[in-house]
Amino acid sequence: MSSRAIEHFDDKARETFEHAGRTTVYGGELLRHPVYTRILHWTVALFFFLALFSGFGIYLPWLFRWFTPIFGGGQLSRIMHPYFGVAFVFFFALQALNWIQPMLWAPGDTRWLRNIKTIASGEEKMDPPDTGFFNAGQKAMFWEIVAGCIVYLITGIILWAGAKTFGRISVAISYVLHDISALIMLGGIFIHIYLSTIGEPGTFHSMIRGAVSEAWAWTFHPAWYKQVTGRDPVQACEEARRQMNAGSKS
């Protein structure tokens, strides 16, 4: 598929899904994620957790067998897990098409990653000025999920069909790769959930209502802020600080 065909497909989908919901953007806010993106994101998350919890029962029943009754027992978890997994990969594939444009690696991203210590420790209050719609950490997670989905799909099909079809050695190898892929992704998702809820307050709204405050935008994604508002993020922040200080004095 050419990039134009992808763009066309995504535009069509975004337009169609705009009728399925509503995105209200109040004064002082910016549109972050349209209805289509939000629906996709939560469908992906739903199937991710279904696959994760049904997978736990197969991964280490000794520790996680209490998950299996949710799915109607050990055998049923084992039967449903591949279907959840395929649904997860399918919806994430749509999300990947939707997001491929803003997720492309930019020169500033490598610098952002090298700087990660000062950003994570909170020393640097605002993200570097060239941080766009997504920062390098988000892009890294996105591409990790893309790679992980490919690994899941290949190894998962081998495990699904089993040793009878693919031979016992390919099953033995696939199962290790499948597990490693899941562990890496799980670790990433912990960080993801943390940052998008309590770690960076205000982010959660972007996936719920679709809108974020301007302050959120100039703090975490200054280049994106500049692109959509035409204003300089640092100046906008300083102005807000002056207003805040003036307000607190009076």
Binding site: Q75, R168, A172, A240, M244
Partner: protein, 301 residues
């Protein structure tokens, strides 16, 4: 041997603790001896197995040999494999081997099985499947070097030869042994069977000209509790794919017993890590924040 103590579990699948009561008592290991040189291919053992275990009928397949079906099934745990082997001098050898679970001392199926208690190994050496704990994942199939476990798609569970653990626990011989008319099947302690097998192999070498005759008891899986006397122990493959050097993939030993729990714990530490970050560094909030206090009053503790 003739008491229930022999059914003391010593290894349990998906179970990291030692088995309860492990090493509390010393027991004899049992063994089935199959002398392929005296098997006549009558298949009485096949029938006895199906009868004793009350297995429903499995359709047979005719493929121009005497073999009942291509391989064992979830309702057919004991199969005589018929193979025609051409010797270098052009003569034909008609080989018959009773194929069933080998009851390895180091069972690949048990290592591969993630489900707690679905596969157990008893002190007497029998490896048994407990279907009520089986989740039907099929890993045992790839863990087994002898291609034995069979998945039943209607019950979603896996089945194989039990070495008649129900009979052995009561002091009886397995059903197949009882049915064998030639005495090519023998049952007893591992030591006794090994002794008889070696004697027989020696006899074949000394008196019958089978210079390579020997006993099949592969040490790569710690030995098995079903052993064969073969005309030519240097080439077990000719007896219907009996592996010369059966192996358990490392992913079922190292990965499962070491890396899996360790890395799984690391993933959970990721959760603790982000929470720790929140407690020690706090959130990153949109700027500007309200002005800071000059000093942190009240933080003495």
């Amino acid at each position: 041997m003739a008491d229930r103590k022999t059914l003391q579990a010593v290894m349990i699948s998906g179970h990291t603790n030692p088995s309860p009561g492990f090493a509390m008592q010393r027991d004899l290991e049992v063994c089935k001896l199959v002398d392929t040189t005296t098997c006549i291919g009558c298949k009485a053992c096949e029938v006895a197995c199906v009868e004793w275990n009350d297995l429903p009928f499995t359709p047979t397949t005719f493929d121009n040999t005497y073999q009942t079906m291509p391989e064992t099934g979830y309702h057919f745990w004991n199969l005589i494999k018929f193979n025609e082997h051409q010797n270098p001098d052009g003569t034909i050898q008609w080989l018959m081997r009773k194929d069933q679970c080998m009851h390895c001392a180091d069972p690949g199926c048990l290592h591969a099985c993630p489900a707690d208690g679905a596969i157990v190994k008893y002190a007497n050496g029998i490896v048994d499947f407990n279907q009520e704990n089986c989740i039907g994942c099929g890993f045992c199939v790839s863990g087994c070097p002898f291609n034995i476990p069979r998945f039943n798609p209607s019950t979603k569970r896996v089945y194989k030869c039990t070495l008649c653990s129900d009979r052995v626990g009561e002091g009886l011989e397995p059903a197949c042994i009882k049915a064998c008319p030639t005495g090519c099947l023998k049952f007893g302690t591992k030591d006794d069977m090994k002794f008889i097998a070696e004697e027989r192999a020696k006899q074949l070498r000394d008196n019958f000209g089978w210079q390579n005759a020997g006993v099949y008891d592969p040490q790569s899986v710690g030995g098995t509790h079903v052993i064969y006397v073969l005309h030519d122990a240097t080439d077990p493959e000719r007896y219907g794919n009996l592996p010369k050097d059966p192996q358990i993939p490392w992913s079922y030993t190292w990965w499962k017993w070491l890396f899996k729990p360790v890395l799984g714990t690391f993933a959970l530490f990721g959760l603790l890590g982000v929470l720790a970050h929140h407690v020690t560094h706090g959130p990153r909030v949109p700027q500007p924040e309200p002005p800071k206090k000059d000093d942190n009053i009240g933080g003495a503790y």
